[in-house]
Each structure stands twice: as C-alpha cells, then as structure tokens.
Symmetry: C2
Subunit: 379 residues, 2 copies
C-alpha cells in the first residue's frame, strides 16, 4: 500500500506500517502526558506500540493459517485503526475460512492467558480493579493494561459483524448450510444491523473512535457483498468472452510517443507488443504516462514494456482471471485459445464486464474463444 | 446537482437547495433552543433561512452580472456551507470577471445598508453592543443579527483568497497586468497561504466550521490552478487532434445489446449512430447501462440514442469544445472537417488529451483534420 513502510519480516511475511500510524502513538502519548508529564508521554507511546505488536501477532495468526491452506499473504499492514492481513485468493472450503478467521482472536486469547499468568506470578492481579484513573506508569500498569487490551481485541473481533473476524466465522458457518452467496448476503446484513447499533451506542456514549469503526464495518459489509456478487457474476463467464478484439498492437521498435498517439486518437489504452505473432510484452496507459512524464517519449517500447505477459486460457472464468491478476500484481493478462493469442483483458475491462454481464444474454455459441467478433461497421 | 431540489426561480434562474441543507437549519434551531426552548428553536431555524436568503441574493448578484456579460447561469445552489452560482463559460475580459466577483459582496453591502437604516428607524441600533448571549428571540435580535451577518458575508467573501470573491477580484486585477495564467497561479498561491493561516487560526480558536471552510478554500485554489492549466493546454490543441479514429459505428436498427457487446469486447465506449454516412445520434456507455438496467437490451438503438448531435469544427480548440460540452450538457461531440464527419470526442477523451498532450510533440502536419491516422498493426 502507498504511504507505508516495512518494519519487520516475520516467517517471510512483510509487516508494514502506514504513515498515519504515528497518529495513534501520538494519541497514546497525549493521553498519558496530561497526568504524568514527559514520563507519561513515553509510557503512553510505548503502550500503543505494545498494543500494535499484539495486533500484528493477531494478523500473523490469520496469515500463517491462510498460508497453510494455500493462500498467498501479500503483507500485514498496520493502520491507526487496526491491522489488516492482505490475503490473495480465497479459502477453498468454508472450514478453511473459519479456521483462518478464528486464528486471529485465538492469538489474543493466548496472549491474554500468558499475560494473566505473568501478572499472577508477579502478584499484579489485585491491581486490575483500580486500573485506569489513578494508576501511574509502571510495569504493573503496562502488563495489566495489555491483558485487558488483548481480551478486548479477542471479544471485539468476534462480534459477528462482517467484515470482522466474527462475521467471517458466521459466514463460514452459514456457507456450510446455504452456500457462499446466500451466506455472504446474510452475514453482511447482520453485520450492517450490528454496525448501526454500535454507531448509535457510540454516538450516545461519545466514543468517536467506535463510531468511526462501526462506519467502517458498515461499509466493509457492503464491500463483502459486492465482492461476492462479482464472484458470482464473473465466475460464470469465460475470459474468451471479454478480451479486446480489433486491438492495435505495438512492435518492439515503436516509440512511447506512438503508443501515446494511439491512446489519444483511439479508444484503446493497453497494448500488446507483438513479435512474429506472439505478444512479448504489454504497455499500459499508466506505463505510457509515466514514461512521458520522465521525458522518455522517444524511447523504444521494447525498453519500457512489462516483459512478463501473464497468460490465461480463454475457458478460464473471469473470476479466476481476477484472482490471477491480483496474485501476479499485473494490470493486464493475455488471453489464449490453446497456443493462439487472442487479446488482452485489463482491470478496466473486468469492471466493464461486471457492469454489463449481469444484463447480457449468454454467448450465442458454445466455445467462448471460437465466438465470432461482433458485426461492425467502420467509419 | 444530484440530491438537490428547486425552491425558487428568480429572473429565469433556478434556486436549488441541496438535501443536506436541512443540517444548517437544524444547527440554527439547536443553538437557540438551549436557552429559549421551542420558541428559540423556531427562531433559530428562521434566522438560518433568512441568512440563506441573503446568500441566495449574493449569488443572484453574481448571476445577473454574469448573464449581462454573456455567460450562462445554470443554477444557484444552496449548500449548508454557503451558496454557489453555477456559471457556464468564462468572462471574456478581466474587467468582466472583476465586476461579476464584486456583484456578490455588493449585494450584502446593500442589504447591510438597508438593515442599518431599518434598525436605525426602529431605534434598535443601541442593542447591537449586547447582541449575543443575553438577547432573546425578538424582531430586534433578528434585524441586528442579520445586519451583522451581511457585514460578515461581505467582509469574509472579500478575503483575497481564490476561490473566494476577493480572490477572483485579485486574479482579475493581476490578469490585466500579467495575463490569466500567471494571475491564476499567483492568486491561487496567495489563496492557499491565507487558507493555511485561517486553518491554523480556526484550530487554535476552535472554530470547526471555519477550519472546514479554509480546507475548501485550499482545495478550491488548487482546482482553479488545475482548471487554468487545462485551459492553457487544451486551448492550443484543435479538436481534430483528439477525436477517435477507427471507431465502430452503430446503425439505427442495431439493438442496445449489440452496443453492449461492442463495449464488452472492444475498447470503445461511445458510439455514433450513422445513417447514410451521417451521424444521426449518439449512444454512450451510460446510456447503454441505463437501458440494460431497465431491461431494454433488445430495444432499437434509434429509440434510445441522444438525438441531438453537437457538432464542432476540427479546427476549434479542445478548450472551446470543453466549454461547448458544458453549455450543451452533452458528454460527447461530433467533430467535422467542413461537412465531413470525422469522429467523436467524449469527456473521457478530453481528460486523456489533457494528460497526454502536455508531453506530446505538436502535430506533424498543418491541418489537424487532414492528419493521417497513426500507423497501426492489427491483431
């Protein structure tokens, strides 16, 4: 993600922190500096860092179990409002989704148990009742506070409101009974009702952060619903139905300016670079604009094109193609009928397909790849 | 604008109110209900309505003078944070811009003068000093409050921070000396410095609304700069350089589904509907999606196309084309070389041209319309 930088790499997974993360550390420092001055500020900042270490471990829980089930973990990202494990692909079976979702809160339960033990051994536990207002910066305060925080993380994340972990557990459970589409729809609806209730509670009790989080839960639930809907629509349609026909292709010896000229004077935005009938690279609008901005307008296309051409069969579903694009971090794939190159599909084409396909009749002929180009009159 | 509804029509100009406008009335009611109960709430709501009547008159001042100088006034829109006169086109001369900008605050000055007179005649003026905390709902409070409000509106709007009226006056003045491009750049920079200062003052003094407005001023200044830059870039380029070549055209007897099929399987999004070599209508992606959503996929294109085809000469500048699109509220224009139809230009093409043209060399041949289509290889 933009504006984030790497702070650790655990078990081969990058832990990145967003630039705005400093905010939450500052909030922690401010909260403790009022009563306890500079020492309090340091203590508050350290508490926040410790809390987010627990959040990172929570996300690591999700990530390791997800990887165990064959998903790719792109990164763990820490934001001021929490953490995200960026997973590519989706669990094959509802049971896998359930276990991945449970792994996060389970980490916090384990941490809470460990902290309970340590606090008990050190004789800190009796302090738990008066934790808060009066307690100053001390090891006891820190250990008790982290115990409470991990318990809160486990409980809050298990609220059955998609996209929280509890919501994923709920969806996975429903999935086993009624299939993923209806399960998502139900879990999203429940999530939104809970989000509205949380929002109302947050407004009444003046918890602004909770109000913000409940807003995110609400929007997240919509997003999950839209994603599942996209999967349903795109899962039915072969890539051979949505690649771009009648495309202009570039030669490796064309200049970036030539590609820019095509973008300006046609509807086309992405170009296969062809050599002897085979695509050897891809040049997108973003590549062209970047090159132009760097003054490389007269450079050869061959030097600037993306040299990895991701191939997909025309009979693969658009949903599979979308997942492949995400896994390979490529904005464009090349569609093939066996060994014959057909054309490109980009992110934009995917969005267009999603909008149109829900309304369009199924392809008129059997094999998508063999479908004739639509009748067209040229001006 | 979406989510707005008409409340009046003055001198042929629609005055529309945005749906969120109720917020500011509610804020007024809340502010006065605390001390003065239900009667105070009514009074506070009435005060806000009276204030926004003054704001509407301010915008009407801009609008009438703008119309006098040949600009089109699309609407006056009232938002919770103020009013906007939506003008199409731009003043021919800096003096016109100056007079249009001054007309708004001049209305508030005139209203303030009238209120001063009325308050004086009614013997209300001595109350001005203790207006505020203690004064209850009364005619005196209302008339004095509105006097103060109009004075504040005049003064605030004359702050020389683009896009406020004072900033426009500043730009118009600078324009006479150094031309519009450098004048806009300087006025925008001054506007942003003032916005930052206002924002800092708002944070320190706790004026959240002022903080929000200063943010809008900052963004507005960037926007003005970008608009002026677009004018400079697009003003130099003829429409003949940016229309779409190699386009698929529809026949009036094609179905909406055919157009959808083209959108799905090519890069094209807008279609001229041709009859005997002449475009008789235009069908855009938005039209197609709307028709599909209404279940009209098998309808004839002839029944759904936009029948008004806005024509522009290939030698007109893209800036003129953009203005024409805005005036005619059309997303697509047809480019002609004399009586010969060449192709379409859409809003999206305009944005693409803006991004690319700053980097591209000038056309290789004199007449834009006679320029050869770029060399291309077809797959």
């Amino acid at each position: 993600m933009k504006w984030s930088f790497k702070v650790a790499r655990i078990a081969g997974i990058d832990v990145n922190v967003h630039a705005t993360f400093g905010l939450i550390v500052a909030v922690g420092a401010l909260e403790w500096s009022g009563r306890h001055g500079a020492q309090g500020a340091l203590f508050g900042a350290a508490l926040m860092l410790a809390l987010f270490a627990c959040v990172a471990l929570h996300e690591l829980g999700h990530s390791l179990v997800a990887r165990r089930f064959g998903l790719t973990v792109r990164e763990i990202l820490l934001l001021p409002i929490g953490g995200v494990a960026m997973l590519v692909g989706r669990p094959e079976r509802p049971l896998h989704e359930l276990l991945i979702a449970l792994a996060g809160p389970a980490v916090n339960v384990a941490l809470a148990a460990a902290l309970l033990l340590v606090n008990g051994v050190l004789g800190f536990l009796p302090g738990l009742t008066e934790l808060g207002a009066a307690s100053g910066p001390s090891l006891q305060t820190a250990l008790l506070w982290l115990l409470g925080a991990n318990m809160a993380l486990a409980v809050f994340n298990m609220i059955p409101a998609l996209p929280l972990d509890g919501g994923r557990v709920l969806r996975a459970g429903l999935s086993m009974a009624v299939g993923p589409a209806r399960a998502t729809s139900a879990a999203a609806a429940i999530g939104q009702v809970i989000a509205v209730a949380l929002f109302a509670f947050a407004l009444i009790s003046g918890h602004l952060v909770l109000a913000f989080i409940s807003l995110l839960v609400f929007l997240g639930a919509s997003q999950e619903r839209a994603t599942e809907r996209a999967r349903t629509i795109l899962g039915d349609v072969p890539a051979g139905r949505a690649y771009n026909r009648r495309a202009i292709a570039l030669s490796p010896c064309d200049r970036v300016n030539d590609a820019a000229e095509h973008i300006l004077t046609t509807y086309q935005t992405d170009f296969a670079v062809m050599l002897e009938g085979e695509p050897i690279g891809v040049l997108t609008r973003a590549d062209v604009i970047r090159a132009l901005a760097e003054g490389a307008g007269s450079a050869y296309v061959a030097g600037l094109m993306r040299r990895e051409v991701v191939r997909v069969g025309a009979d693969r579903s658009l949903d599979e193609v979308a997942r492949l694009m995400s896994e390979k971090s490529t904005p464009v794939v090349a569609v093939y009928d066996g060994e014959r190159y057909l054309g490109l599909i980009s992110h934009e084409d995917m969005a267009e397909a999603l909008t149109l396909l829900q309304f369009l009749p199924a392809p008129r002929q059997g094999g998508a790849a063999s479908q004739a180009a639509p009748r067209a009159q040229w001006t």
